[in-house]
Amino acid sequence: MKGVTMTLSRKNTIRTVLVFAAMAVLFVCAAVWNISIGSVKISFGQIFQILTHPDTVDMTAYNIIFKIRLPRLLLAAVLGGALSLSGFLLQTFFRNPIAGPFVLGISSGAKMFLAIVLIALSQRVSSVSVGVTVLTAFLGSMLSMLVVLAFAGKIKNMSVLLVVGIMISYICSAVTDFFINFANDSDIVNLTHWSHGSFSAASWQDVAVSAAIVLTTALAVFCLSKPISVYALGEGYAGSLGIRIKPLRIALILFSSVLSACVTAFAGPISFVGIAVPHIARTVLKTSKPILLIPACFFGGAVFCMLCDLAARTIFAPVELSISTVTAAIGAPIVIWLMMQRRVKHSEN
């Protein structure tokens, strides 16, 4: 008996190591591809040369890498991780794998709030600081989260809650479009682009601010691995094991909002990453242990968004797709599949 459990736990360890190693390899590949591929091709040799002897190469390639592609790929990585983790936290909160900031309407709510505030401010001041943008997005995120929670208090059925979330999403997008129609010409270009989600126009400042917020929050979430692991058993058991439920629930909601707000502020709403990546992470790791899933979701989200952004930039180049077009094409089928699976399970029971 002991022998069997030993080999099983060793098998799990091997699996974990393999998954994280694969993720590291993919991360490096995605980074290199993102730097190399584009309207101007930069060969691997050139990249190597720029990294080792920056003074000997021509400035165009140098600028493309350091002013455009590198900040963009880093932003995609940080925000991808944030989105995925935000979804994981909501799934923990609702004890349901089909929860995420986008499908519950939280991203679109934050987007609407942010768009209205930005348009209102642009009439008065010439430029809006990053801090204000992030804070506004966070407020918008929290507000829409509260709306969702109010509905969740009344609707116990997750499928119905999702329908409500999608409706909220549509209403918020309609309102956002309405306000954009009345904005100044100069604002419109940026807002329209942003309101559909994009990593383009990423600056080093964006990367620095978002990385600071996201990495701190992600670390805090990782420190909650232990209580989260027991929260899955239900509140009765979690409480009896000494967890203070209310602070934990507040932390889950707060951290999830901070993460999705950060994404909304810097890249606009991005769909389905929050569901797709945690689901893939669970499936390949075959575990529910948060201590493994939290880092896996974060790095998985980073890799996923880097690859999706690469696809968005290159598939129909020079036309650039919005990032949500790509993430939805991959993520939506996963959500449908998940819902079907749960249906089947329910009817079996």
């Binding site: 459990t5 420190c223 232990k226 058993l233 058991y237 009896s240 094991l241 000494g242 575990t287």
Partner: protein
């Protein structure tokens, strides 16, 4: 005000009122338990057994009154400290996805592990032991979402065990279990109480098992505690029938079992039984819905307690005394009133010699006499 007894007890409830939304459902609950005692809550569905258990385990705030553990008010204790003293097993059956049984059991070590919940060798040993105690080794590696309800129930017990509690609170732990595991679960609890002095508070639906496993019984009925005491004080025909609103006689304290409803109407058949021979016939008649009378039975005969629950009339004689003229006369009156007589085949000796007379009397009166179950079912009275 703490009494001396409460100060020494493992767990004590003092004038506890429990309920939801600040409205008391059950008031004035008081009892105290010594280490190693088993207390069982019994009572009809919806009587509030779960509400009391939830309040004891601090999942539900008490409306008034206190729950004390080792003489300390539980309300003032840190939840971390409570977790090391008390484990629960609930009726809520969330099955987390992709979690193995061993992982679920390991959750019981939560109050003892460090900041990231990593298990030490000692923790792993305790988890393994708990799994062995409930005989769950064969499915320890299976996912929680794949096992049967009964298996899950045993895993949940193992989880509670490996929390190494001093008090264990269980809400209907025997549900979903077949009779073998029901007995096994209660034996595990009994031996934990005996050897590790763990105090057990639980609710049970099986009153026969409650009687056998408990040291103390609390009868919960609607808004109050109907009774509190040792099993032999509680398990009387009258108290149990009143608690569950049963007809008199439906519960037999002697067997700790219940009988289905008595067939209604005028008796259409008379059963001459005794010494257990009558019981199969009573049961067939009950299932067919045929009202009947029975006799002559001694009051200490096994047939008597079943007949009392199922027959319209029972002609009975005092324990260990010879059936006399009075009973024979009453029995003949019953025979006159029906067309069919059942001769259950009980051997006759000194005390019940009168039953032979009754049989002869019936033959003389030209009644139909049946002596096996098939004939009785085919008769379609």
């Amino acid at each position: 005000m703490k009494t001396e007894k409460q100060r020494l007890s493992k767990m004590a409830l003092d004038n506890l009122s429990v309920g939801y939304h600040k409205k008391a459902l059950i008031e004035d609950i008081s009892f105290s338990l010594q280490p190693g005692e088993i207390l069982t809550l019994i009572g009809p569905n919806g009587a509030g057994k779960s509400t009391i258990l939830k309040s004891i385990s601090k999942q539900l705030a008490a409306i008034s009154g206190v729950v004390m553990i080792d003489g300390h008010d539980m309300q003032a204790m840190r939840s971390k400290d409570i977790a090391r003293k008390m484990a629960v097993m609930l009726t809520n059956r969330t099955r987390p996805e992709l979690m193995s049984c061993t992982e679920l059991v390991s959750a019981g070590r939560y109050p003892y592990t460090g900041g990231f919940g990593l298990l030490t060798e000692n923790d792993k040993r305790i988890v393994e032991q708990a799994i062995a105690t409930v005989h769950a080794q064969s499915f320890a590696d299976a996912l929680v979402s794949e096992i049967s309800d009964g298996q899950l129930q045993r895993i949940l017990l193992a989880r509670a065990l490996c929390q190494e509690p001093e008090i264990i609170v269980l809400d209907e732990p025997t549900s979903y279990l077949d009779v073998k595991y029901k007995i096994e679960l209660l034996e595990i609890l009994r031996s934990m109480a005996k050897t590790k002095h763990i105090t057990v508070v639980m609710s049970l639906h099986e009153i026969d098992l409650a009687e056998k496993v408990s040291d103390k019984i609390v009868c919960v009925k609607g808004d109050h505690i109907a009774d509190y005491g040792a099993p032999h004080e509680i398990f009387t025909d009258e108290k149990i029938s009143a608690l569950y609103d049963l007809e008199t006689g439906a519960f037999s304290a002697l067997f700790g079992s219940v009988e289905l409803a008595k067939p209604q109407g005028k008796a259409r058949c008379f059963v001459i039984g005794g010494n257990g021979y009558g019981i199969p016939f009573y049961r067939v008649l009950q299932k067919e819905g045929i009202a009947f009378s029975a006799g002559i039975l001694a009051e200490n005969d096994v047939d008597y307690s079943v007949a009392r629950a199922l027959a319209q009339t029972v002609i009975a004689a005092a324990a260990f005394s010879v059936f006399g003229e009075e009973q024979i006369k009453a029995a003949k009156a019953q025979i006159d009133a029906v067309e069919v007589i059942v001769h259950a085949g009980c051997p006759v000796a000194d005390i019940n010699r009168a039953n032979t007379l009754l049989l002869e009397y019936a033959q003389k009166s030209g009644k139909t006499i049946l002596s096996n179950l098939e004939e009785l079912t085919e008769m379609r009275l």
